[in-house]
């Protein structure tokens, strides 16, 4: 029945597209609304289909967007996707705000040192493996052609930074999708956030160093100042935004959802225009709310009702923008880096977890939780892009991110099922939408 519904929806969309032969009409408000509705329904239907075979729903959302998007069936035109990017831009900081609000340092305190150890070891190992493989295979990577050894090595390290990044958004979505609860998912969520912050800081340092090695020191200073503003400014603005959010919630009992959406809008639209990173800003706001105030659980409760629509919209639109065509263009190079990334992250996690004394399931399977990637990697790639001689590096990174976005969640879900944490999330944390009238939404533990 759901397959039939998917087919019917596709036919309806195709029929509607026939009405307006000029593709420009698709970028108007009607086209954007139509494509948004079509993507939401298609993604939810596809998600429910694949959930029956154990595949994460967000993978289905991505696949659905990719299949109906401009690269495959073209039911959603490039102009429509461009119009929908606004919603994707709003969704990314919204999910980052949610991820930050989930991170409660006092509860992590007993294992904070261990988490930091795992984070550092994992990041260093991953960067080393990826840059090593990229350097060894530099003959197959066109953007490294003609560079001397030092220059090639520097660029290899730069490309390893965004490729090491994981995705707080995907981790949160996977946790909710699998209804997982336990030490593995808590460890992965904490380390994903710490990794993200560490990588942003490393990028802020590495890019000016690379610029200094390649050009005049003046350029390096300018770039360093810009990236320092991006990093520290985002964190500072994020804390300020969190402060304002807390003040709003204390004054008014309702409206938390609206304020969260407003904050996401401000981060998405204002941030890039004044040189800030929306994800880091929203992440910092969420962390401040959870750890600097007592309003963290209330924020999570207020944001819960619109979380699912945001997930579906974000991942389905992201799927529609996956450059499937670039897979064939970058070919072997992308495959090599995907493998190198997986090996580096898993090995690094295991080494770090052994040092931290993590329990066995966490040590064996936690590395798989770092495999999914999404917007953070692309955002970091945009920061390092200027260091590369041409755009083939960005295409390569995009291909790797796309592959990891599709395959990573499947592997992570397998890990959650294997260690028995899937389906253990208590029912009291679920939304009141699940048909039980008058169900109380109990707050997440502090």
């Amino acid at each position: 029945m759901r397959i039939l519904l998917l087919v019917v929806l596709g036919l309806l969309m195709q029929a509607a597209r026939q009405f307006a032969p000029v593709d420009l009409v698709g970028s108007g408000p009607a086209g954007i609304t139509l494509s948004c509705g079509f993507l939401l329904l298609t993604a939810v239907l596809a998600g429910s289909l694949v959930a029956q075979i154990g595949v994460p729903r967000i993978t289905a959302y991505l696949l659905a967007g990719a299949i109906v998007g401009p690269e495959v069936l073209d039911l959603v035109s490039p102009e429509m996707v461009e119009g929908l990017n606004l919603f994707r831009g709003l969704a990314a900081p919204f999910i980052a705000l949610l991820a930050g609000a989930e991170l409660h340092f006092p509860s992590l305190a007993p294992r904070l040192r261990g988490s930091i150890a795992i984070t550092v070891v994992t990041v260093v190992t991953s960067i080393a493996v990826i840059s090593g493989v990229a350097f060894a295979a530099r003959g197959a990577l066109p953007f490294l052609a003609g560079l001397d050894t030092v220059g090639a090595l520097v660029l290899c390290v730069l490309i390893a930074l965004p490729l090491t990044a994981s995705s707080p958004a995907v981790t949160i979505a996977l946790r909710d999708d699998a209804e997982a609860e336990g030490p593995l998912i808590r460890s992965v969520m904490a380390i994903v956030v710490l990794t993200s912050l560490l990588l942003i800081a490393l990028t802020a340092v590495a890019v000016p160093v690379a610029a200094a090695l390649r050009a005049t020191p003046g350029d390096a200073l300018r770039v360093a100042g810009k990236l320092a503003w991006t990093l520290f400014g985002s964190l500072a603005f994020g804390v300020g935004a969190g402060f304002g959010f807390a003040a709003f919630l204390r004054k008014w009992r309702a409206g938390g959802t609206l304020f969260a959406v407003g904050l996401a809008f401000a981060a998405a639209e204002l941030g890039p225009r004044i040189g800030l990173d929306p994800l880091a800003l929203a992440l910092a706001a969420g962390i401040f709310l959870r750890n600097g105030t007592d309003l963290g659980p209330r924020v999570l409760t207020d944001m819960q009702p619109i979380t699912l629509p945001v997930y579906v919209a974000f991942f389905s639109v992201a799927g529609a923008t996956i450059p499937l065509g670039s897979f064939s263009a970058v070919g072997l190079g992308a495959l090599l880096l995907v493998t190198a990334r997986a090996v580096g992250l898993v090995l690094g996690w295991r080494a770090g977890a052994r040092m931290a004394g993590a329990p066995d399931p966490v040590r064996r399977l936690g590395g798989l939780g770092l495999l999914p990637q999404a917007d953070l990697a692309l955002a970091l790639a945009a920061l390092v892009a200027a260091s590369f001689p041409d755009t083939s590096a960005l295409s390569l990174i995009a291909a790797v991110v796309a592959f990891d976005a599709l395959v990573g969640p499947i592997l992570f879900r397998i890990a959650l099922v294997k260690c028995g944490e899937a389906g253990r999330r208590p029912a009291r944390y679920r939304s009141a939408e699940e048909g039980t009238e008058g169900a109380d939404v109990e707050q997440a533990p502090t």
Binding site: C36, G37, L40, R273
Partner: protein, 595 residues
């Protein structure tokens, strides 16, 4: 009752058809005259005349008969064939024309049923200009101002002022957000710049779709059938008269100011008339407790008529131009609208059945409304009407998920409807004086029409002449109908028109209806307080800002309680006794009604 509805429908179609025929014949006559003039100027080159030595009348002119255009719709006579004017020829010569094939004008245009409009508005440029940092900052300030406004609106002092001015109902319906959008978009303030507005523009079809779907989702056909005798025809009379008054008065003014044009004066008059008929004043609180409201179904009747009006307008006045790929006759567009609404309703029904009782209901409803509204708007049809059909179909078919759908619609209302109002306000042009002049006619025509309709509904002589049962309304019901405010749907109707059409008259209509809503509320409140204080009631705050969201099942009694488990240990209770069948011609108590 059914005959009355069919008669009203036939009347509307007749009016539109007559106007179209008149318009078409006027154009044909003008075209024929133009062709004659063109023919006279041109030298006949369509045929060679060969003079042959024979007797008989011949023609010096081109004699090849002009073939009438192949795109004939209703009796397109086309220019008359050029008559061969015989002229006397010398007996020794005979001119026999040698016909040269003349290209036949092929049917490149659709059948001429419907009105051709100015070309559709140009789509936005392929490259959007992204907002600057300053624009984003001002937009954020605007958002903060919206939150502040919402806070102020709940302040007791502000509410006292609203009650004093008699605009509580309009404020509750969200009018301040319209005004905010208007102010925010002004050049002097500039909070909502053009580029920011471009980002928010998709909320227009989404908001219209939500409104249509919500209205459809409370359209209970069974309530209409249960109307007591005498109430239905009376309700119809009180709707047809204001409609006719508005169409007549405003149509005349629009014709005088805007001219015949492409018949848009009639389109705009019908839209205004449709917006005018909607609204019933809520009952005054009963100290003895809530009682059955017999004329509550009137709102459904009015909304149904409004949807019919929207379907007809969107079908008969179609955009043209290279952006539009389908060229169909107007009646075909009616079928497309009905078919689209039905098909989408069936798809949404199937989707909801596939996800019974799951957490995805909200996102499914959001996606369904966006799909239906976007598709309708994409095909230049009315999103309100299409989503209404889909919502009505879903509501009137069985399903255990209805309460969840209702809750989802209520949850979606605030974010969608309020932003919709802000964007609608930003698109409103208040500077055209014609809109304010029309406003006076609109308010007066609406009030007079409703009062006249209520008055005539009391007349037993009219009842005897028309052979229908009138006089079923009591005093309070007549007051509530005559002094009815305008609902949020009226605003949606003109915003829908703004979404479909371009032209100066469209902005006039927006001014007329929005301003008319405020003026109507002020005037009726004054009359109520002076003359009918018993019927006066301060509108109660509800969870629905627009008043359009479906009510909880306790208010309608139509939803099944899905939370209660079915007790299978006991036999089911016997069904209630069926009421006796209605016998024709038997008098019934006019107060016997639906409860």
């Amino acid at each position: 009752m059914r005959r009355a509805i069919l008669a009203a429908l036939a009347l509307v179609v007749l009016v539109v058809g007559v106007a179209d025929a008149a318009r078409t014949s006027h154009r044909k006559t003008a075209a024929a005259e133009k062709k004659k003039e063109t023919k006279k100027k041109k030298k006949p080159a369509a045929a060679k005349v060969v003079r042959v030595a024979d007797a008989g009348p011949a023609d010096d002119e081109a004699v090849a008969a002009e073939v009438p255009p192949a795109d004939a719709g209703p009796a397109d006579a086309g220019p008359a064939a050029a008559a061969a004017a015989g002229t006397a020829q010398p007996p020794e010569t005979l001119a026999i024309p040698v016909p040269v094939p003349i290209p036949i004008e092929r049917a490149t245009k659709p059948a001429k049923v419907g009105f051709k409009l100015e070309p559709a508005p140009l789509p936005p440029a392929r490259v959007r200009r992204a907002p600057t940092a300053l624009e984003v900052i001002t937009a954020i300030i605007g958002l903060v101002a919206i939150v502040g406004m919402a806070y102020l609106a709940s302040h007791p002092k502000v509410q006292e002022l609203e009650e004093l001015l008699g605009i509580t109902a309009v404020v509750t319906a969200g009018l301040p957000f319209v005004l905010f959008g208007l102010i925010a978009h002004s050049k002097q303030i500039g909070i909502l710049s053009g580029s920011v507005l471009q980002y928010l523009h998709p909320f227009i079809p989404l908001g219209l779709g939500w409104i249509g779907f919500s209205i459809g989702f409370r359209f209970d056909v069974r309530r209409l059938e249960a109307l007591p005798r005498g109430v239905g025809p009376a309700l119809l009379l009180t709707s047809v008269l204001p409609f006719a008054a508005i169409v007549g008065a405003c149509g005349l003014i629009l014709l005088m100011t805007d001219g015949l044009g492409h018949g848009t004066f009639l389109r705009d008059a019908i839209i205004l008339g449709t917006a005018a008929i909607i609204g019933v004043r809520p009952p005054a609180p009963n100290p003895e407790g809530p009682s059955a409201d017999r004329i509550a179904p009137l709102v459904q009747l009015q909304e149904g008529c409004a949807m019919i009006g929207l379907v007809l307008v969107a079908a008969f006045w179609r955009p043209s131009g290279h952006e539009v790929g389908w060229q169909l006759p107007a009646f075909a567009w009616i079928f497309v609208t009905l078919g689209m609404g039905t098909a989408l309703g069936a798809v949404i029904y199937a989707v909801l059945n596939a996800f019974r009782g799951r957490a995805e209901i909200t996102v499914l409803m959001l996606g369904s409304i966006a799909l239906a509204a976007g598709m309708a708007s994409f095909l230049r049809l009315s999103p309100v009407a299409v989503c209404f059909i889909a919502g009505a179909l879903i509501f009137n078919f069985p399903g255990t998920w209805k309460e969840q759908v209702r809750v989802a619609l209520v949850k979606l209302e605030r974010p969608i409807y309020l932003v919709f109002l802000v964007v609608a306000g930003a698109m409103w042009e208040v500077t055209a004086w014609q809109g304010w002049v029309l406003l006076l006619l609109f308010v007066a025509g609406r009030l007079v029409g409703k009062v006249l309709g209520v008055f005539l509904a009391r007349e037993s002589r009219l009842s005897e002449q028309l052979h229908i049962e009138l006089g079923g309304l009591n005093h309070e019901e007549r007051v509530r109908i005559a002094l009815a405010p305008m609902g949020a749907l009226a605003i949606a109707i003109v915003v829908s028109a703004q979404d479909l059409y371009v032209g100066s008259t469209v902005s006039w209509m927006v001014t007329t209806v929005i301003g008319g809503a405020v003026a109507t509320e002020i005037v009726t409140q004054l009359i109520l307080r002076k003359l009918y204080p018993d019927a006066y009631a301060v509108p109660l705050a509800t969870e629905s800002p627009s008043g359009l969201a479906p009510q909880p099942r306790e208010a309608t009694g139509t939803f099944a309680r899905i939370a209660e488990p079915i007790d299978t240990s006991r036999p089911p209770p016997p069904p209630p006794p069926m009421p006796p069948p209605r016998l024709p011609g038997v008098d019934r108590d006019p107060d016997e009604g639906w409860s």
